[in-house]
């Protein structure tokens, strides 16, 4: 299979370019969101009792809530908040997973302990554990981040542990030691670079979970305080008015959340495909 020069093909129908454009669009949208939201704070907080529960109009694209606040501004603020919470929780969760996976590979007993930990956390219902931790920590942004991080590491830990165990047995890793390379060299030059793509993809796929669970926690009243315009708070408020026909209160924040989650899920999966050697060329 020699790679002789051949005519370059047009960029049309190039899946990798599609992924790049998608990522770029998403990034631009997120940066715009983060820039815009601080300026929307006033608008989101300002209540106007002349304009209570207005259906979407040209002035209020997403309508207004029961206190006459602009729902568009509040949704965008909620998404920005979710973004921060999700990113922090996903990062924390990935670090926990990496640490535990490394620990599991040290010796047999540590591996058994980590395995037990993974199984027991996976065995408990997610949401109940989330609520317990958030409640114990007293609620608020930090509590939510910690609770989400503490419940979202097990599956990634499993993946990383399996990968590390396999790598340690790999011929090229064993040979490296026989060439006189130190343990540190092997970890730094062979193991970590091989794990990095898994961490990246795993973290990115943790992100939508983290956002969804943050929203769920807040919706149930165990998360962010009702004063913060979080998506979960918006959705919880909307429940009281949905049956009265004020559909926009639930639909727009919900759709925003769905879009954000889907975007990150798609991005994570595309990246995973790209980093899988035999799928990368297709």
């Amino acid at each position: 299979m020699s790679a002789t020069p051949s005519p370059r093909l047009a960029l049309r129908g190039n899946p990798r370019l599609g992924l790049a454009l998608g990522t770029l669009t998403l990034l631009v949208a997120l940066v715009a969101l983060l820039i815009v939201t601080p300026q929307l704070a006033e608008r989101a907080g300002a209540s106007d009792f002349q304009a209570r529960l207005l259906a979407p109009t040209t002035d209020y694209w997403f309508g207004t809530d029961v206190l006459g606040r602009d729902l568009l501004a509040r949704t965008l603020q909620g998404l920005a908040l979710s973004l921060w919470v999700g990113a922090a929780a996903a990062l924390l969760g990935t670090l926990i997973a990496l640490g535990l996976a490394a620990l599991a590979c040290l010796d047999r007993r540590a591996d058994a302990v980590v395995g037990l930990l993974v199984d027991s956390v996976l065995g408990l219902p997610h949401l109940i554990l989330l609520m317990l931790i958030a409640f114990a920590l007293g609620g608020g942004t930090q509590a939510v981040i910690i609770a989400v991080a503490l419940t979202h590491w097990p599956s990634l830990t499993r993946v990383l542990r399996a990968e590390l165990l396999q790598l340690q047995q790999a011929d090229y890793v064993r040979l490296s030691r026989r060439f006189g390379k130190s343990r540190g060299f092997v970890i730094w030059h062979h193991l970590l670079p091989a794990l990095l793509p898994h961490c990246l993809v795993g973290g990115l796929l943790l992100f939508p979970h983290a956002i969804l669970h943050e929203a769920a926690l807040t919706f149930l009243g165990f998360g962010l305080s009702p004063g913060q315009p979080a998506i979960g708070v918006l959705l919880a408020e909307s429940m009281r008015y949905l049956s009265a026909g004020y559909w926009w209160l639930g639909v727009f924040p919900g759709l925003g959340l769905l879009l954000l989650v889907l975007a990150f899920d798609r991005l994570g999966n595309a990246l995973r495909r790209l980093l899988t050697p035999h799928e990368a060329q297709q």
Binding site: M1, S2, A3, T4, P5, S6, P7, R8, L9, L11, N14, R16, L17, A20, A280, Q281, Q282
Partner: protein
């Protein structure tokens, strides 16, 4: 008759991050397989032999671009026909043991293969196919991870033969087997051919291919150089047309074990 007529194949690959280019992998492949013969295709690894098998069966990856023609019994073997015949009249014995479903016991996988092929009594057909490859009793009921490499190969062979396919394409069926099992697999391919099937045996192992093959096609750098009867491989290889085929024959450890002069194996211009 299964005919491959000037088949060429490119792969689209990324050069750098964005640009795709076509990398030729098969340049000019022609051969014909008739019923009742074992037709060996030998050549170096990476010469494109497995790609040819995938092209025949219609299981190429999405970034492959194919030119040339495939015909089965005179009619073009295009994608819809491949899909219709695959697993029924056309069977592939894949090179990778990962082709087995890790969660299903081997005898069930063979039964499924027979079912897909439309056999009227799939269970009996599977039983017979497994017995033919010497997998009886407990060993046929194991999961793939409980099988040795040799057993897994024989299960793959049973899957291909349970459906009474007319055309078998065996991609390196003996790799990783010890001599006794290798001879068993090769003997069975010979018996299948004697029973009227056409068998394409893709291998890098010229010596053992010769023990069962009727004809041998020599493959080099994505090109079929020549097709010779198996008995042309003897003595100094005078009966062989191409220098590469002669060099391949002479390089065997029980012949000269000779490193060929460079010009004989230089990549084709």
């Amino acid at each position: 008759m299964l005919e491959i007529d000037h088949l060429a194949l490119d792969f689209l690959r990324y050069r750098g991050l964005w640009q795709r280019e076509a990398v030729p992998c098969l340049r000019d492949v022609s051969l014909s397989l008739v019923r009742g013969e074992v037709h060996a295709v030998v050549g170096a690894s990476g010469a494109g032999k497995s790609l040819m098998a995938q092209a025949i069966i219609g299981l190429l990856p999405g970034n492959a671009r194919l030119r040339g023609e495939l015909r089965l019994d005179g009619a073009p073997l295009d994608a819809p026909r491949q899909a219709a015949l695959r697993g029924k009249r056309l069977a592939l014995i894949p090179q990778s043991l990962a082709a087995l479903d890790p969660l299903v016991r081997s005898h069930r996988q063979v039964t499924w293969a027979a079912q897909r092929a439309g056999v009227s009594a799939p269970r009996a057909a599977a039983e017979r196919a497994l017995t033919e490859v010497g997998m009886v009793g407990d060993s046929a009921r194991r999961y793939p991870h409980q099988l040795s490499g040799g057993m897994a190969r024989r299960v793959l062979l049973a899957m291909a033969t349970a459906g009474e396919a007319d055309w078998l394409i065996a991609d390196e069926p003996s790799v990783g087997l010890d001599p006794a099992h290798r001879d068993g697999v090769l003997d069975q391919l010979r018996r299948l051919a004697d029973a009227g099937k056409g068998v394409l045996l893709i291998t890098h192992d010229l010596r053992h291919a010769l023990s069962v093959a009727d004809r041998v096609t020599v493959f080099h750098a994505g090109t079929t150089l020549e097709t010779a009867p198996a008995d042309a491989f003897q003595g100094r290889g005078k009966a062989l047309a191409s220098g590469y085929a002669r060099a391949l024959w002479r390089a065997l450890p029980d012949n000269d074990f000779a490193r060929p002069p460079v010009h004989e194996v230089a990549p084709l211009a």
